[in-house]
């Protein structure tokens, strides 16, 4: 296959994920929730702790459904299994690495869209004159630990598709190392999501101070978050396959350095982009003088 054709295959797969699942209200009910949320905000014309809770729930829900994208939800009488779905992707004439990349790109676009909508809602309603409880929002906005745990629960049940392990281990899905490799990606994605949640909420916490959000200040909790995420992933692995505890432990120890450095790079990139995006939204809405 020529280079242009390969690119075409990649973009068509990204489009396929977006069109058929992520932006399809039939398959991803998050959009319905967003719609209800917009109406709700319009009717209420205020922002309180319940709205914050609702948004948090929405955020978790959004990624929960994205995480379930490859879970077979066939007819009720059929056994639920991801294996045929993973097989399906293995049969396609495109490498596992490209499938994984296209999935990441699609979910990235989807995630940005979701957060843009949420950010817009928050920013819009925070400038309403009857909104006087901004200090209260600051006090109820969840801290890093709470969000980590909540996100962890949201992504718990087979959060990220197993096929992500394909590029790491030659599509041998029954190989235990490959399964662990899947968790390795799972952990990094989980951590990125957690960080996005934290950044977003912290950004909005600082609105009333009319100061540019210092996202890097959040890094003081970095080691704690990493340990929490790894611990959570390990616990999940423990629950799903007890036989692999030893292999899982070895893998985590062997790759901890790589994992941390990869995460750091991703986090820095994410935080810069979120900071810029927030700044842009706030400037547009003239919330920052």
């Amino acid at each position: 296959m020529q280079r242009s054709e390969r690119k075409n295959a990649l973009s068509s797969l990204v489009w396929f994920f977006l069109k058929t699942f992520l932006f399809n209200p039939q398959n991803n009910p998050t959009f319905l929730v967003i719609f209800i949320l917009i109406i709700f905000f319009y009717l209420e014309r205020s922002l309180n702790r319940y709205h914050i809770a609702l948004m948090l729930y929405l955020a978790v829900l959004a990624h929960y459904f994205v995480g379930n994208i490859f879970k077979d939800s066939g007819n009720a009488e059929e056994e639920t299994s991801r294996v045929p779905i993973i097989r399906y992707f293995q049969v396609l004439p495109i490498s596992g690495r490209k499938i994984y990349l296209s999935y990441l790109l699609a979910t990235g676009i989807y995630g940005l869209f979701t957060w843009a909508v949420l950010g817009f809602l928050l920013a819009t309603f925070m400038k309403l004159p009857d909104l006087k409880n901004i200090e209260f929002i600051k006090s109820v906005a969840p801290d890093g630990d709470t969000i980590t745990i909540l996100t962890g629960f949201g992504l718990n049940e087979r959060g990220i598709p197993g096929f992500v392990s394909i590029p790491l281990k030659k599509s041998l899905i029954f190989d235990p190392i490959s399964k662990i490799s899947g968790n390795y990606i799972w952990l990094s994605l989980l951590y990125i999501l957690v960080f996005i949640y934290i950044c977003t909420f912290q950004v909005f916490n600082q609105f009333n101070q009319r100061s540019y959000p210092y996202l890097l200040k959040l890094f003081h909790k970095l080691p704690l978050w990493i340990y929490l995420c790894i611990g959570f992933g390990f616990l999940t692995e423990l629950m799903f396959s007890q036989k692999q505890i030893g292999i899982c432990t070895r893998f985590i120890i062997q790759h901890l350095g790589l994992l941390t450095s990869l995460l750091l790079v991703t986090i820095i990139a994410t935080s810069i982009s979120i900071g810029l995006m927030s700044r842009f939204i706030l400037d547009r809405l003239k919330l920052i003088s």
């Binding site: 058929t20 039939q26 066939g74 293995q90 049969v91 396609l92 004439p93």
Partner: protein
């Protein structure tokens, strides 16, 4: 010397407590149509999954279209049409969604052929796979697979969930592909009559070993003998199995 599309030498596959395949040797030449038959747990699915590179194996050499099955590149995969025993189409997508994707992935993609299958097999193209019946899902899978115009077809129990009429229609298409385009076909089934209608050659597998590899013309006598020898059936029962 004919070009071999499938080459298996000394293949052994062991699970933790079970030897699924032991010392399997087989060759399938270009344009051949081979039926794989065997009882439940005989190793048919394992063999097909190894050919597709889904699962690792202990010993042996497995090649498909001249490439080791464990290292199939995208181009080679694009020449293989595979249908798994379990329905594997994405439950949240429609047939048309998947067809849109395939036209970018498969260089030999034939949209007209798909339209013909949709019409002839009465497939519902715009409903999500999770919402249609098992038979419809199976037909959709086969239609997509055939529309890719593969060089080789690997089908694992392709007729599960199909009624007699649809089964005959699918068999006819397989026969046409083999005769007109020289597509190599390697498929498994429990039903001898389904094998007989398309295959030039039949392989019987039992407890992970090939116990018969015969041209279809010479089959009948051999099948009777095999069923009597290996499965302990009476002559009347063996004849019924042959039917």
């Amino acid at each position: 010397m004919p070009i071999m599309h499938i080459e298996v030498h000394g293949l052994t596959k062991k699970y933790i407590t079970l030897t699924a395949l032991r010392d399997v040797n087989l060759k399938v030449a270009r344009g051949e149509s081979v039926g794989l038959i065997g009882s439940n747990g005989a190793g048919k699915t394992t063999l097909l999954h190894i050919l597709m590179g889904f699962i690792p194996f202990g010993q042996g050499v497995v090649k498909i279209l001249g490439k080791p099955s464990t290292h199939l590149d995208a181009i080679t995969k694009g020449r293989i049409g595979f249908v798994a025993e379990q329905p594997s189409l994405l439950p949240w997508a429609t047939l048309l969604d998947i067809a849109d994707l395939y036209k970018h992935l498969y260089s030999q993609w034939n949209r007209d052929a798909l339209s013909r299958f949709i019409e002839e097999w009465e497939i519902i193209p715009d409903k999500r796979m999770r919402s249609v019946s098992k038979g419809q899902r199976r037909l959709a899978e086969l239609a997509l697979c055939f529309s890719c115009q593969p060089t080789i077809l690997l089908l694992d129990e392709p007729f599960i969930g199909l009624d007699v009429v649809m089964r005959l229609k699918v068999l006819r298409v397989m026969k046409e592909m083999n005769a007109q385009y020289g597509t190599t076909i390697f498929y498994s089934s429990h039903i001898l009559s389904d094998i007989e209608k398309v295959a030039d050659r039949v392989i019987i597998i039992r407890e992970g070993q090939i116990c018969l590899d015969e041209q279809i013309g010479k089959l009948k006598h051999s099948v009777e003998k095999t069923f009597i020898d290996y499965y302990g059936l009476s002559r009347e029962e063996a004849l019924l199995s042959g039917e």
